[in-house]
């Protein structure tokens, strides 16, 4: 093989590998749908006119909908961290006795309500907040990727870009009646770029950050929906509140009549002092 031929082969290799990186690498989709999980055979939700009975203090379970277990999905440890963030945001409520994090390994993909109720019994919870998710990552190369042809550019030039869109949706179900109590979404969008050799790592980190930001967005919205649900329980009687036997929460509180009396007498005392002075 002469020198001319070797040079031609090398050039061809370089050009072809450059073309490979130039083209769009497409995207990734990670999805865990609450409908696919709870109604795997496409059955219709039963519409029974029952009013859920919520026994206070509630024991709440929280779990991610099991996904399709594809490579690149959020690891279980990361899922637990996210669920703990939601748990910590809602733990300090007088009507919640405990919030249990249910690992995804306790739920079967497309397991339906039967599977969810099994897990709820195992963790001894009355209601379950199911977090479904939909994350789409678009990846492509920008103009700077032309420097990848130099090979060194693949290490230092941010020629690959990603755009990660995440939706996390929390749906809270009563386990006895299987009815949806309330739901709230959280979203995030992350854009970034990286050199070719670090692209897998950078985009994986962006996907994790996408989930974290979506959960941060979800928490205040879930809180708003929870408060709205409490109002609906009070005014529209969408659920019946019952206190569990042996559970009696009391308080040392003055009522409005006592406050009114104290206010009037305090005003009288002030007037009297002013007159005396």
């Amino acid at each position: 093989m002469n020198g001319k031929m070797i040079t031609t082969l090398l050039l061809a290799t370089l050009v072809l590998s450059g073309c490979a990186t130039w083209f769009d690498r497409g995207g990734q989709i990670h999805r865990g749908s609450v409908v696919d999980y709870l109604y795997p055979k496409g059955e219709q939700p039963t519409l029974t006119p029952t009013v859920p009975e919520l026994r206070l203090p509630l024991r709440v379970g929280i779990a991610f909908v099991p996904g399709n277990n594809t490579l690149g999905e959020l690891p279980e440890t990361e899922r637990e961290l996210l669920l703990k963030r939601v748990r910590d945001a809602f733990a300090n409520r007088p009507y919640i006795a405990a919030i249990e994090v249910i690992p995804s390994t306790y739920l079967r993909p497309r397991g339906g309500f039967d599977n969810l109720q099994q897990a709820a019994r195992m963790f001894n919870v009355d209601v379950v907040a199911l977090l479904s998710y939909d994350q789409v990552q678009f990846s492509d190369s920008n103009r700077l990727s032309i420097f990848y042809w130099t090979i060194v550019g693949g290490y230092f030039i941010n020629g690959s870009q990603y755009d990660v869109n995440t939706l996390v949706d929390a749906a809270v179900f009563d386990m006895t009646t299987r009815s949806l109590l309330f739901r709230a979404p959280g979203t995030s969008q992350i854009k970034g770029s990286s050199p070719l050799v670090k692209f897998a790592e950078a985009s994986r980190e962006a996907r994790g950050e996408g989930y974290r930001q979506a959960v941060d967005d979800l928490i205040p919205r879930l809180n708003t929906q929870l408060e709205a649900f409490r109002v609906r329980v009070k005014e529209e009687k969408v659920a019946r509140i019952v206190e569990k036997p042996g559970y009696n929460r009391g308080s040392g509180s003055v009522d409005l009549a006592t406050l009114g009396l104290l206010g009037t007498l305090a005003a009288l005392a002030m007037l009297k002092k002013r007159h005396a002075g």
């Binding site: 007088p94 009507y95 308080s251 040392g252 406050l259 104290l262």
Partner: protein
């Protein structure tokens, strides 16, 4: 008086800690006493179910202070000592009670102070409060300042009044001791 100042400082610390730290760790909790969490005897009387609940009770303390005048200070300084006694009273007097939060039991003790040291208006307050307590004991009390599902524990108010009477007796005994000493 340094002891009184120290007790007032303790009151402020208790009030701040009980309302800033997580309520589940601070509240009066019958089960938790069995596990040795004795700090709840103090903090349970100072922590609250909500900011509105706290604001209502603090407004009541403010009004009592206006009625009683400067003499309220020694009654306020007694609260850190009365808090665990009231908690123990609740253990016996409200056997069904599992969780409790709120200052108004101790407000009952301050009302005794107002009745004794706040002149005619203070006495009027004492009488009206007793009538209200009787009404709550018969009918069961609730307050719009409280979150849903939580009722007013009238036994705490009764305990506060009884401890207020005991405090008045102790103060009188101390005063008599000082007079005979001099």
């Amino acid at each position: 008086m340094p002891v009184e100042r120290m007790l007032l400082a303790t009151l402020v610390v208790l009030l701040a800690a009980a309302n800033l730290l997580p309520g589940e760790a601070m509240e009066w909790n019958r089960e938790a006493f069995g596990e040795g969490q004795w700090w709840r005897l103090w903090t349970g009387q100072f922590c609250h179910w909500s900011a509105l609940h706290l604001a209502g009770n603090l407004a009541a303390v403010g009004a009592i202070a206006l009625i009683t005048g400067r003499r309220i200070q020694r009654w306020l300084s007694a609260l850190p000592l009365l808090a665990p006694l009231l908690s123990l009273f609740l253990l016996a007097a409200a056997p069904a009670l599992t969780h409790y939060r709120g200052l108004s039991g101790l407000v009952g003790a301050l009302i005794v102070g107002a009745a004794l040291e706040g002149g005619a208006i203070g006495r009027l307050l004492g009488l009206a409060y007793l009538a209200k307590l009787g009404f709550d004991a018969m009918r069961g009390g609730s307050s719009p300042l409280l979150p849903e599902g939580i009722s007013t524990t009238w036994q705490a108010h009764l305990g506060g009044i009884l401890l207020g009477i005991a405090t008045a007796a102790a103060l009188r005994y101390r005063r008599a001791g000082r007079l005979s000493g001099s």
